[in-house]
Amino acid sequence: MTEQEKRIRIARRIALELRDGHFVNLGIGLPTLVANFVPAGMEVVLQSEIGMLGVGPYPLEGEEDADLINAGKETVSELPGTSYFSSAESFAMIRGGHIEMSVIGGMEVAENGDLANWIIPGKMIKGMGGAMDLVATARQLYIAMEHTTRDGKPKILHRCRLPLTGVGVVDFIVTEMGFFRVTPQGIVMEEIAREVTPEQVQAATEAKLIVAPQLRPMPGT
């Protein structure tokens, strides 16, 4: 699978979690792709930390507006029903648990639900942006990430090695290999991509996976 095929598979699978009327925050990068797969006829309202509810698609060429961007600093558009508010109110609605679902990328996830995704020591200093607020307080936190690093190393670990973004915060992990639920007993594999076996998924995972008794094929594979 190409990198792009993996990303689209992950985004499509997460889109199946959306429900009509959901207010959702999609992180920068892969999570943003989820917006492309909202089922037809379903109204899902996207929140952007910059202070916007009802984030629309990228504007048509020539209609870009420098005063209308998302938290990834990309130009976006308005929808009927869009609202704007300050950064403080934006995070009050996140911290206050009013956003049903957050999707964010991951560098490492541990079997206890710890997440690392904001800094690699020695690499460029970027900052955490809104990630720490989002992961600490999401009602449902989905991690959208490729199953392994570019050089094939596991990203689902016993314990994170990178500096943490949040402690015990992850609810679900979606990779090109499957759909995983983080439970107090460990990480449960609930769905598996058709082209791999549970043994192959385990081999690509450092944490010990619990295979669900009703393991299902991952939709879209």
Partner: protein, 231 residues
């Protein structure tokens, strides 16, 4: 009452070396471009800047970083600035990185007279180092202090001579919270209207928070990531 100041240069003239400033904007969106340029030209140094980002190498706060005018930055995301990176690594620039919601709430608290609050963001991470934690209803929270500044430089869309402000789309971002958290708040706007020109229901920053107001001009409004769809 007329808080109008004739020029951006006049509005920032009394900002001294070593001042602590809040600067509105999210990246280059909602930046007080005229006030920033005037402050840069004024050549003040050793400034502490509280702003979500640090501009880019050539734009916004990045210009003052490149000129060595900034001693310390308190931000949440600085990823588009290689000068920030170089100066932070060499130790010339002191930096404090905070979760974005914590930054916004610390500023809000400063303006609202709340000296500290508890948040779950950053618990168990480097952000928590040296900070008090407390348990409420079985969950651990981190104590964060208010943030205040000597001056806030903010960008509204429309304003009046009392200092009432409206904003435009996502250019609002940190501007209204910063307006309340500084001893002196200086606002620039794209249109200055006579009293009564603003719909009272639409005013986001009431006049009480704004001390000086300047009519800005020549807005460049650079776009950091121009993304479009096919028609």
């Amino acid at each position: 009452m007329d808080k109008t100041v004739a020029s951006a240069a006049a509005a920032v003239a009394d900002i001294p070396d070593g001042a602590t400033l809040m600067i509105g904007g999210f990246g280059l969106c909602g930046n007080p471009e005229n006030l920033l340029a005037a402050l840069h030209r004024l050549g003040r140094r050793d400034l502490t800047i509280i702003s979500n980002n640090a501009g880019t190498d050539a734009e916004g706060i990045g210009v003052m970083l490149a000129a060595g005018q900034i001693k310390k930055m308190i931000s949440s995301y600085v990823g588009e600035n290689s000068i920030f990176e170089a100066r932070a690594r060499s130790g010339e620039l002191d930096t404090e990185l905070l979760p974005q919601g914590t930054l916004a709430e610390r500023i809000r608290a400063g303006g609202a007279g709340i000296p500290a609050f508890f948040t779950p963001a950053g618990v168990g991470t480097v952000v928590a180092e040296g900070k008090e934690t407390r348990e409420f209803d079985g969950r651990t929270y981190l104590m964060e202090r208010w943030l205040k500044a000597d001056f806030a430089l903010i960008k509204g869309f429309r304003g009046d001579r009392w200092g009432n402000l409206t904003y435009r789309k996502t250019a609002r971002n940190f501007n209204p919270v910063m307006a309340a958290a500084a001893r002196v708040t200086i606002a620039e706007v794209e249109e200055l209207l006579p009293p009564g020109g603003l719909d009272p229901e639409a005013i986001i920053t009431p006049a009480v928070y704004v001390h000086r107001i300047v009519l800005g001009g020549g807005y460049r409004k650079p776009i950091e990531r121009r993304t479009v769809r096919k028609g």
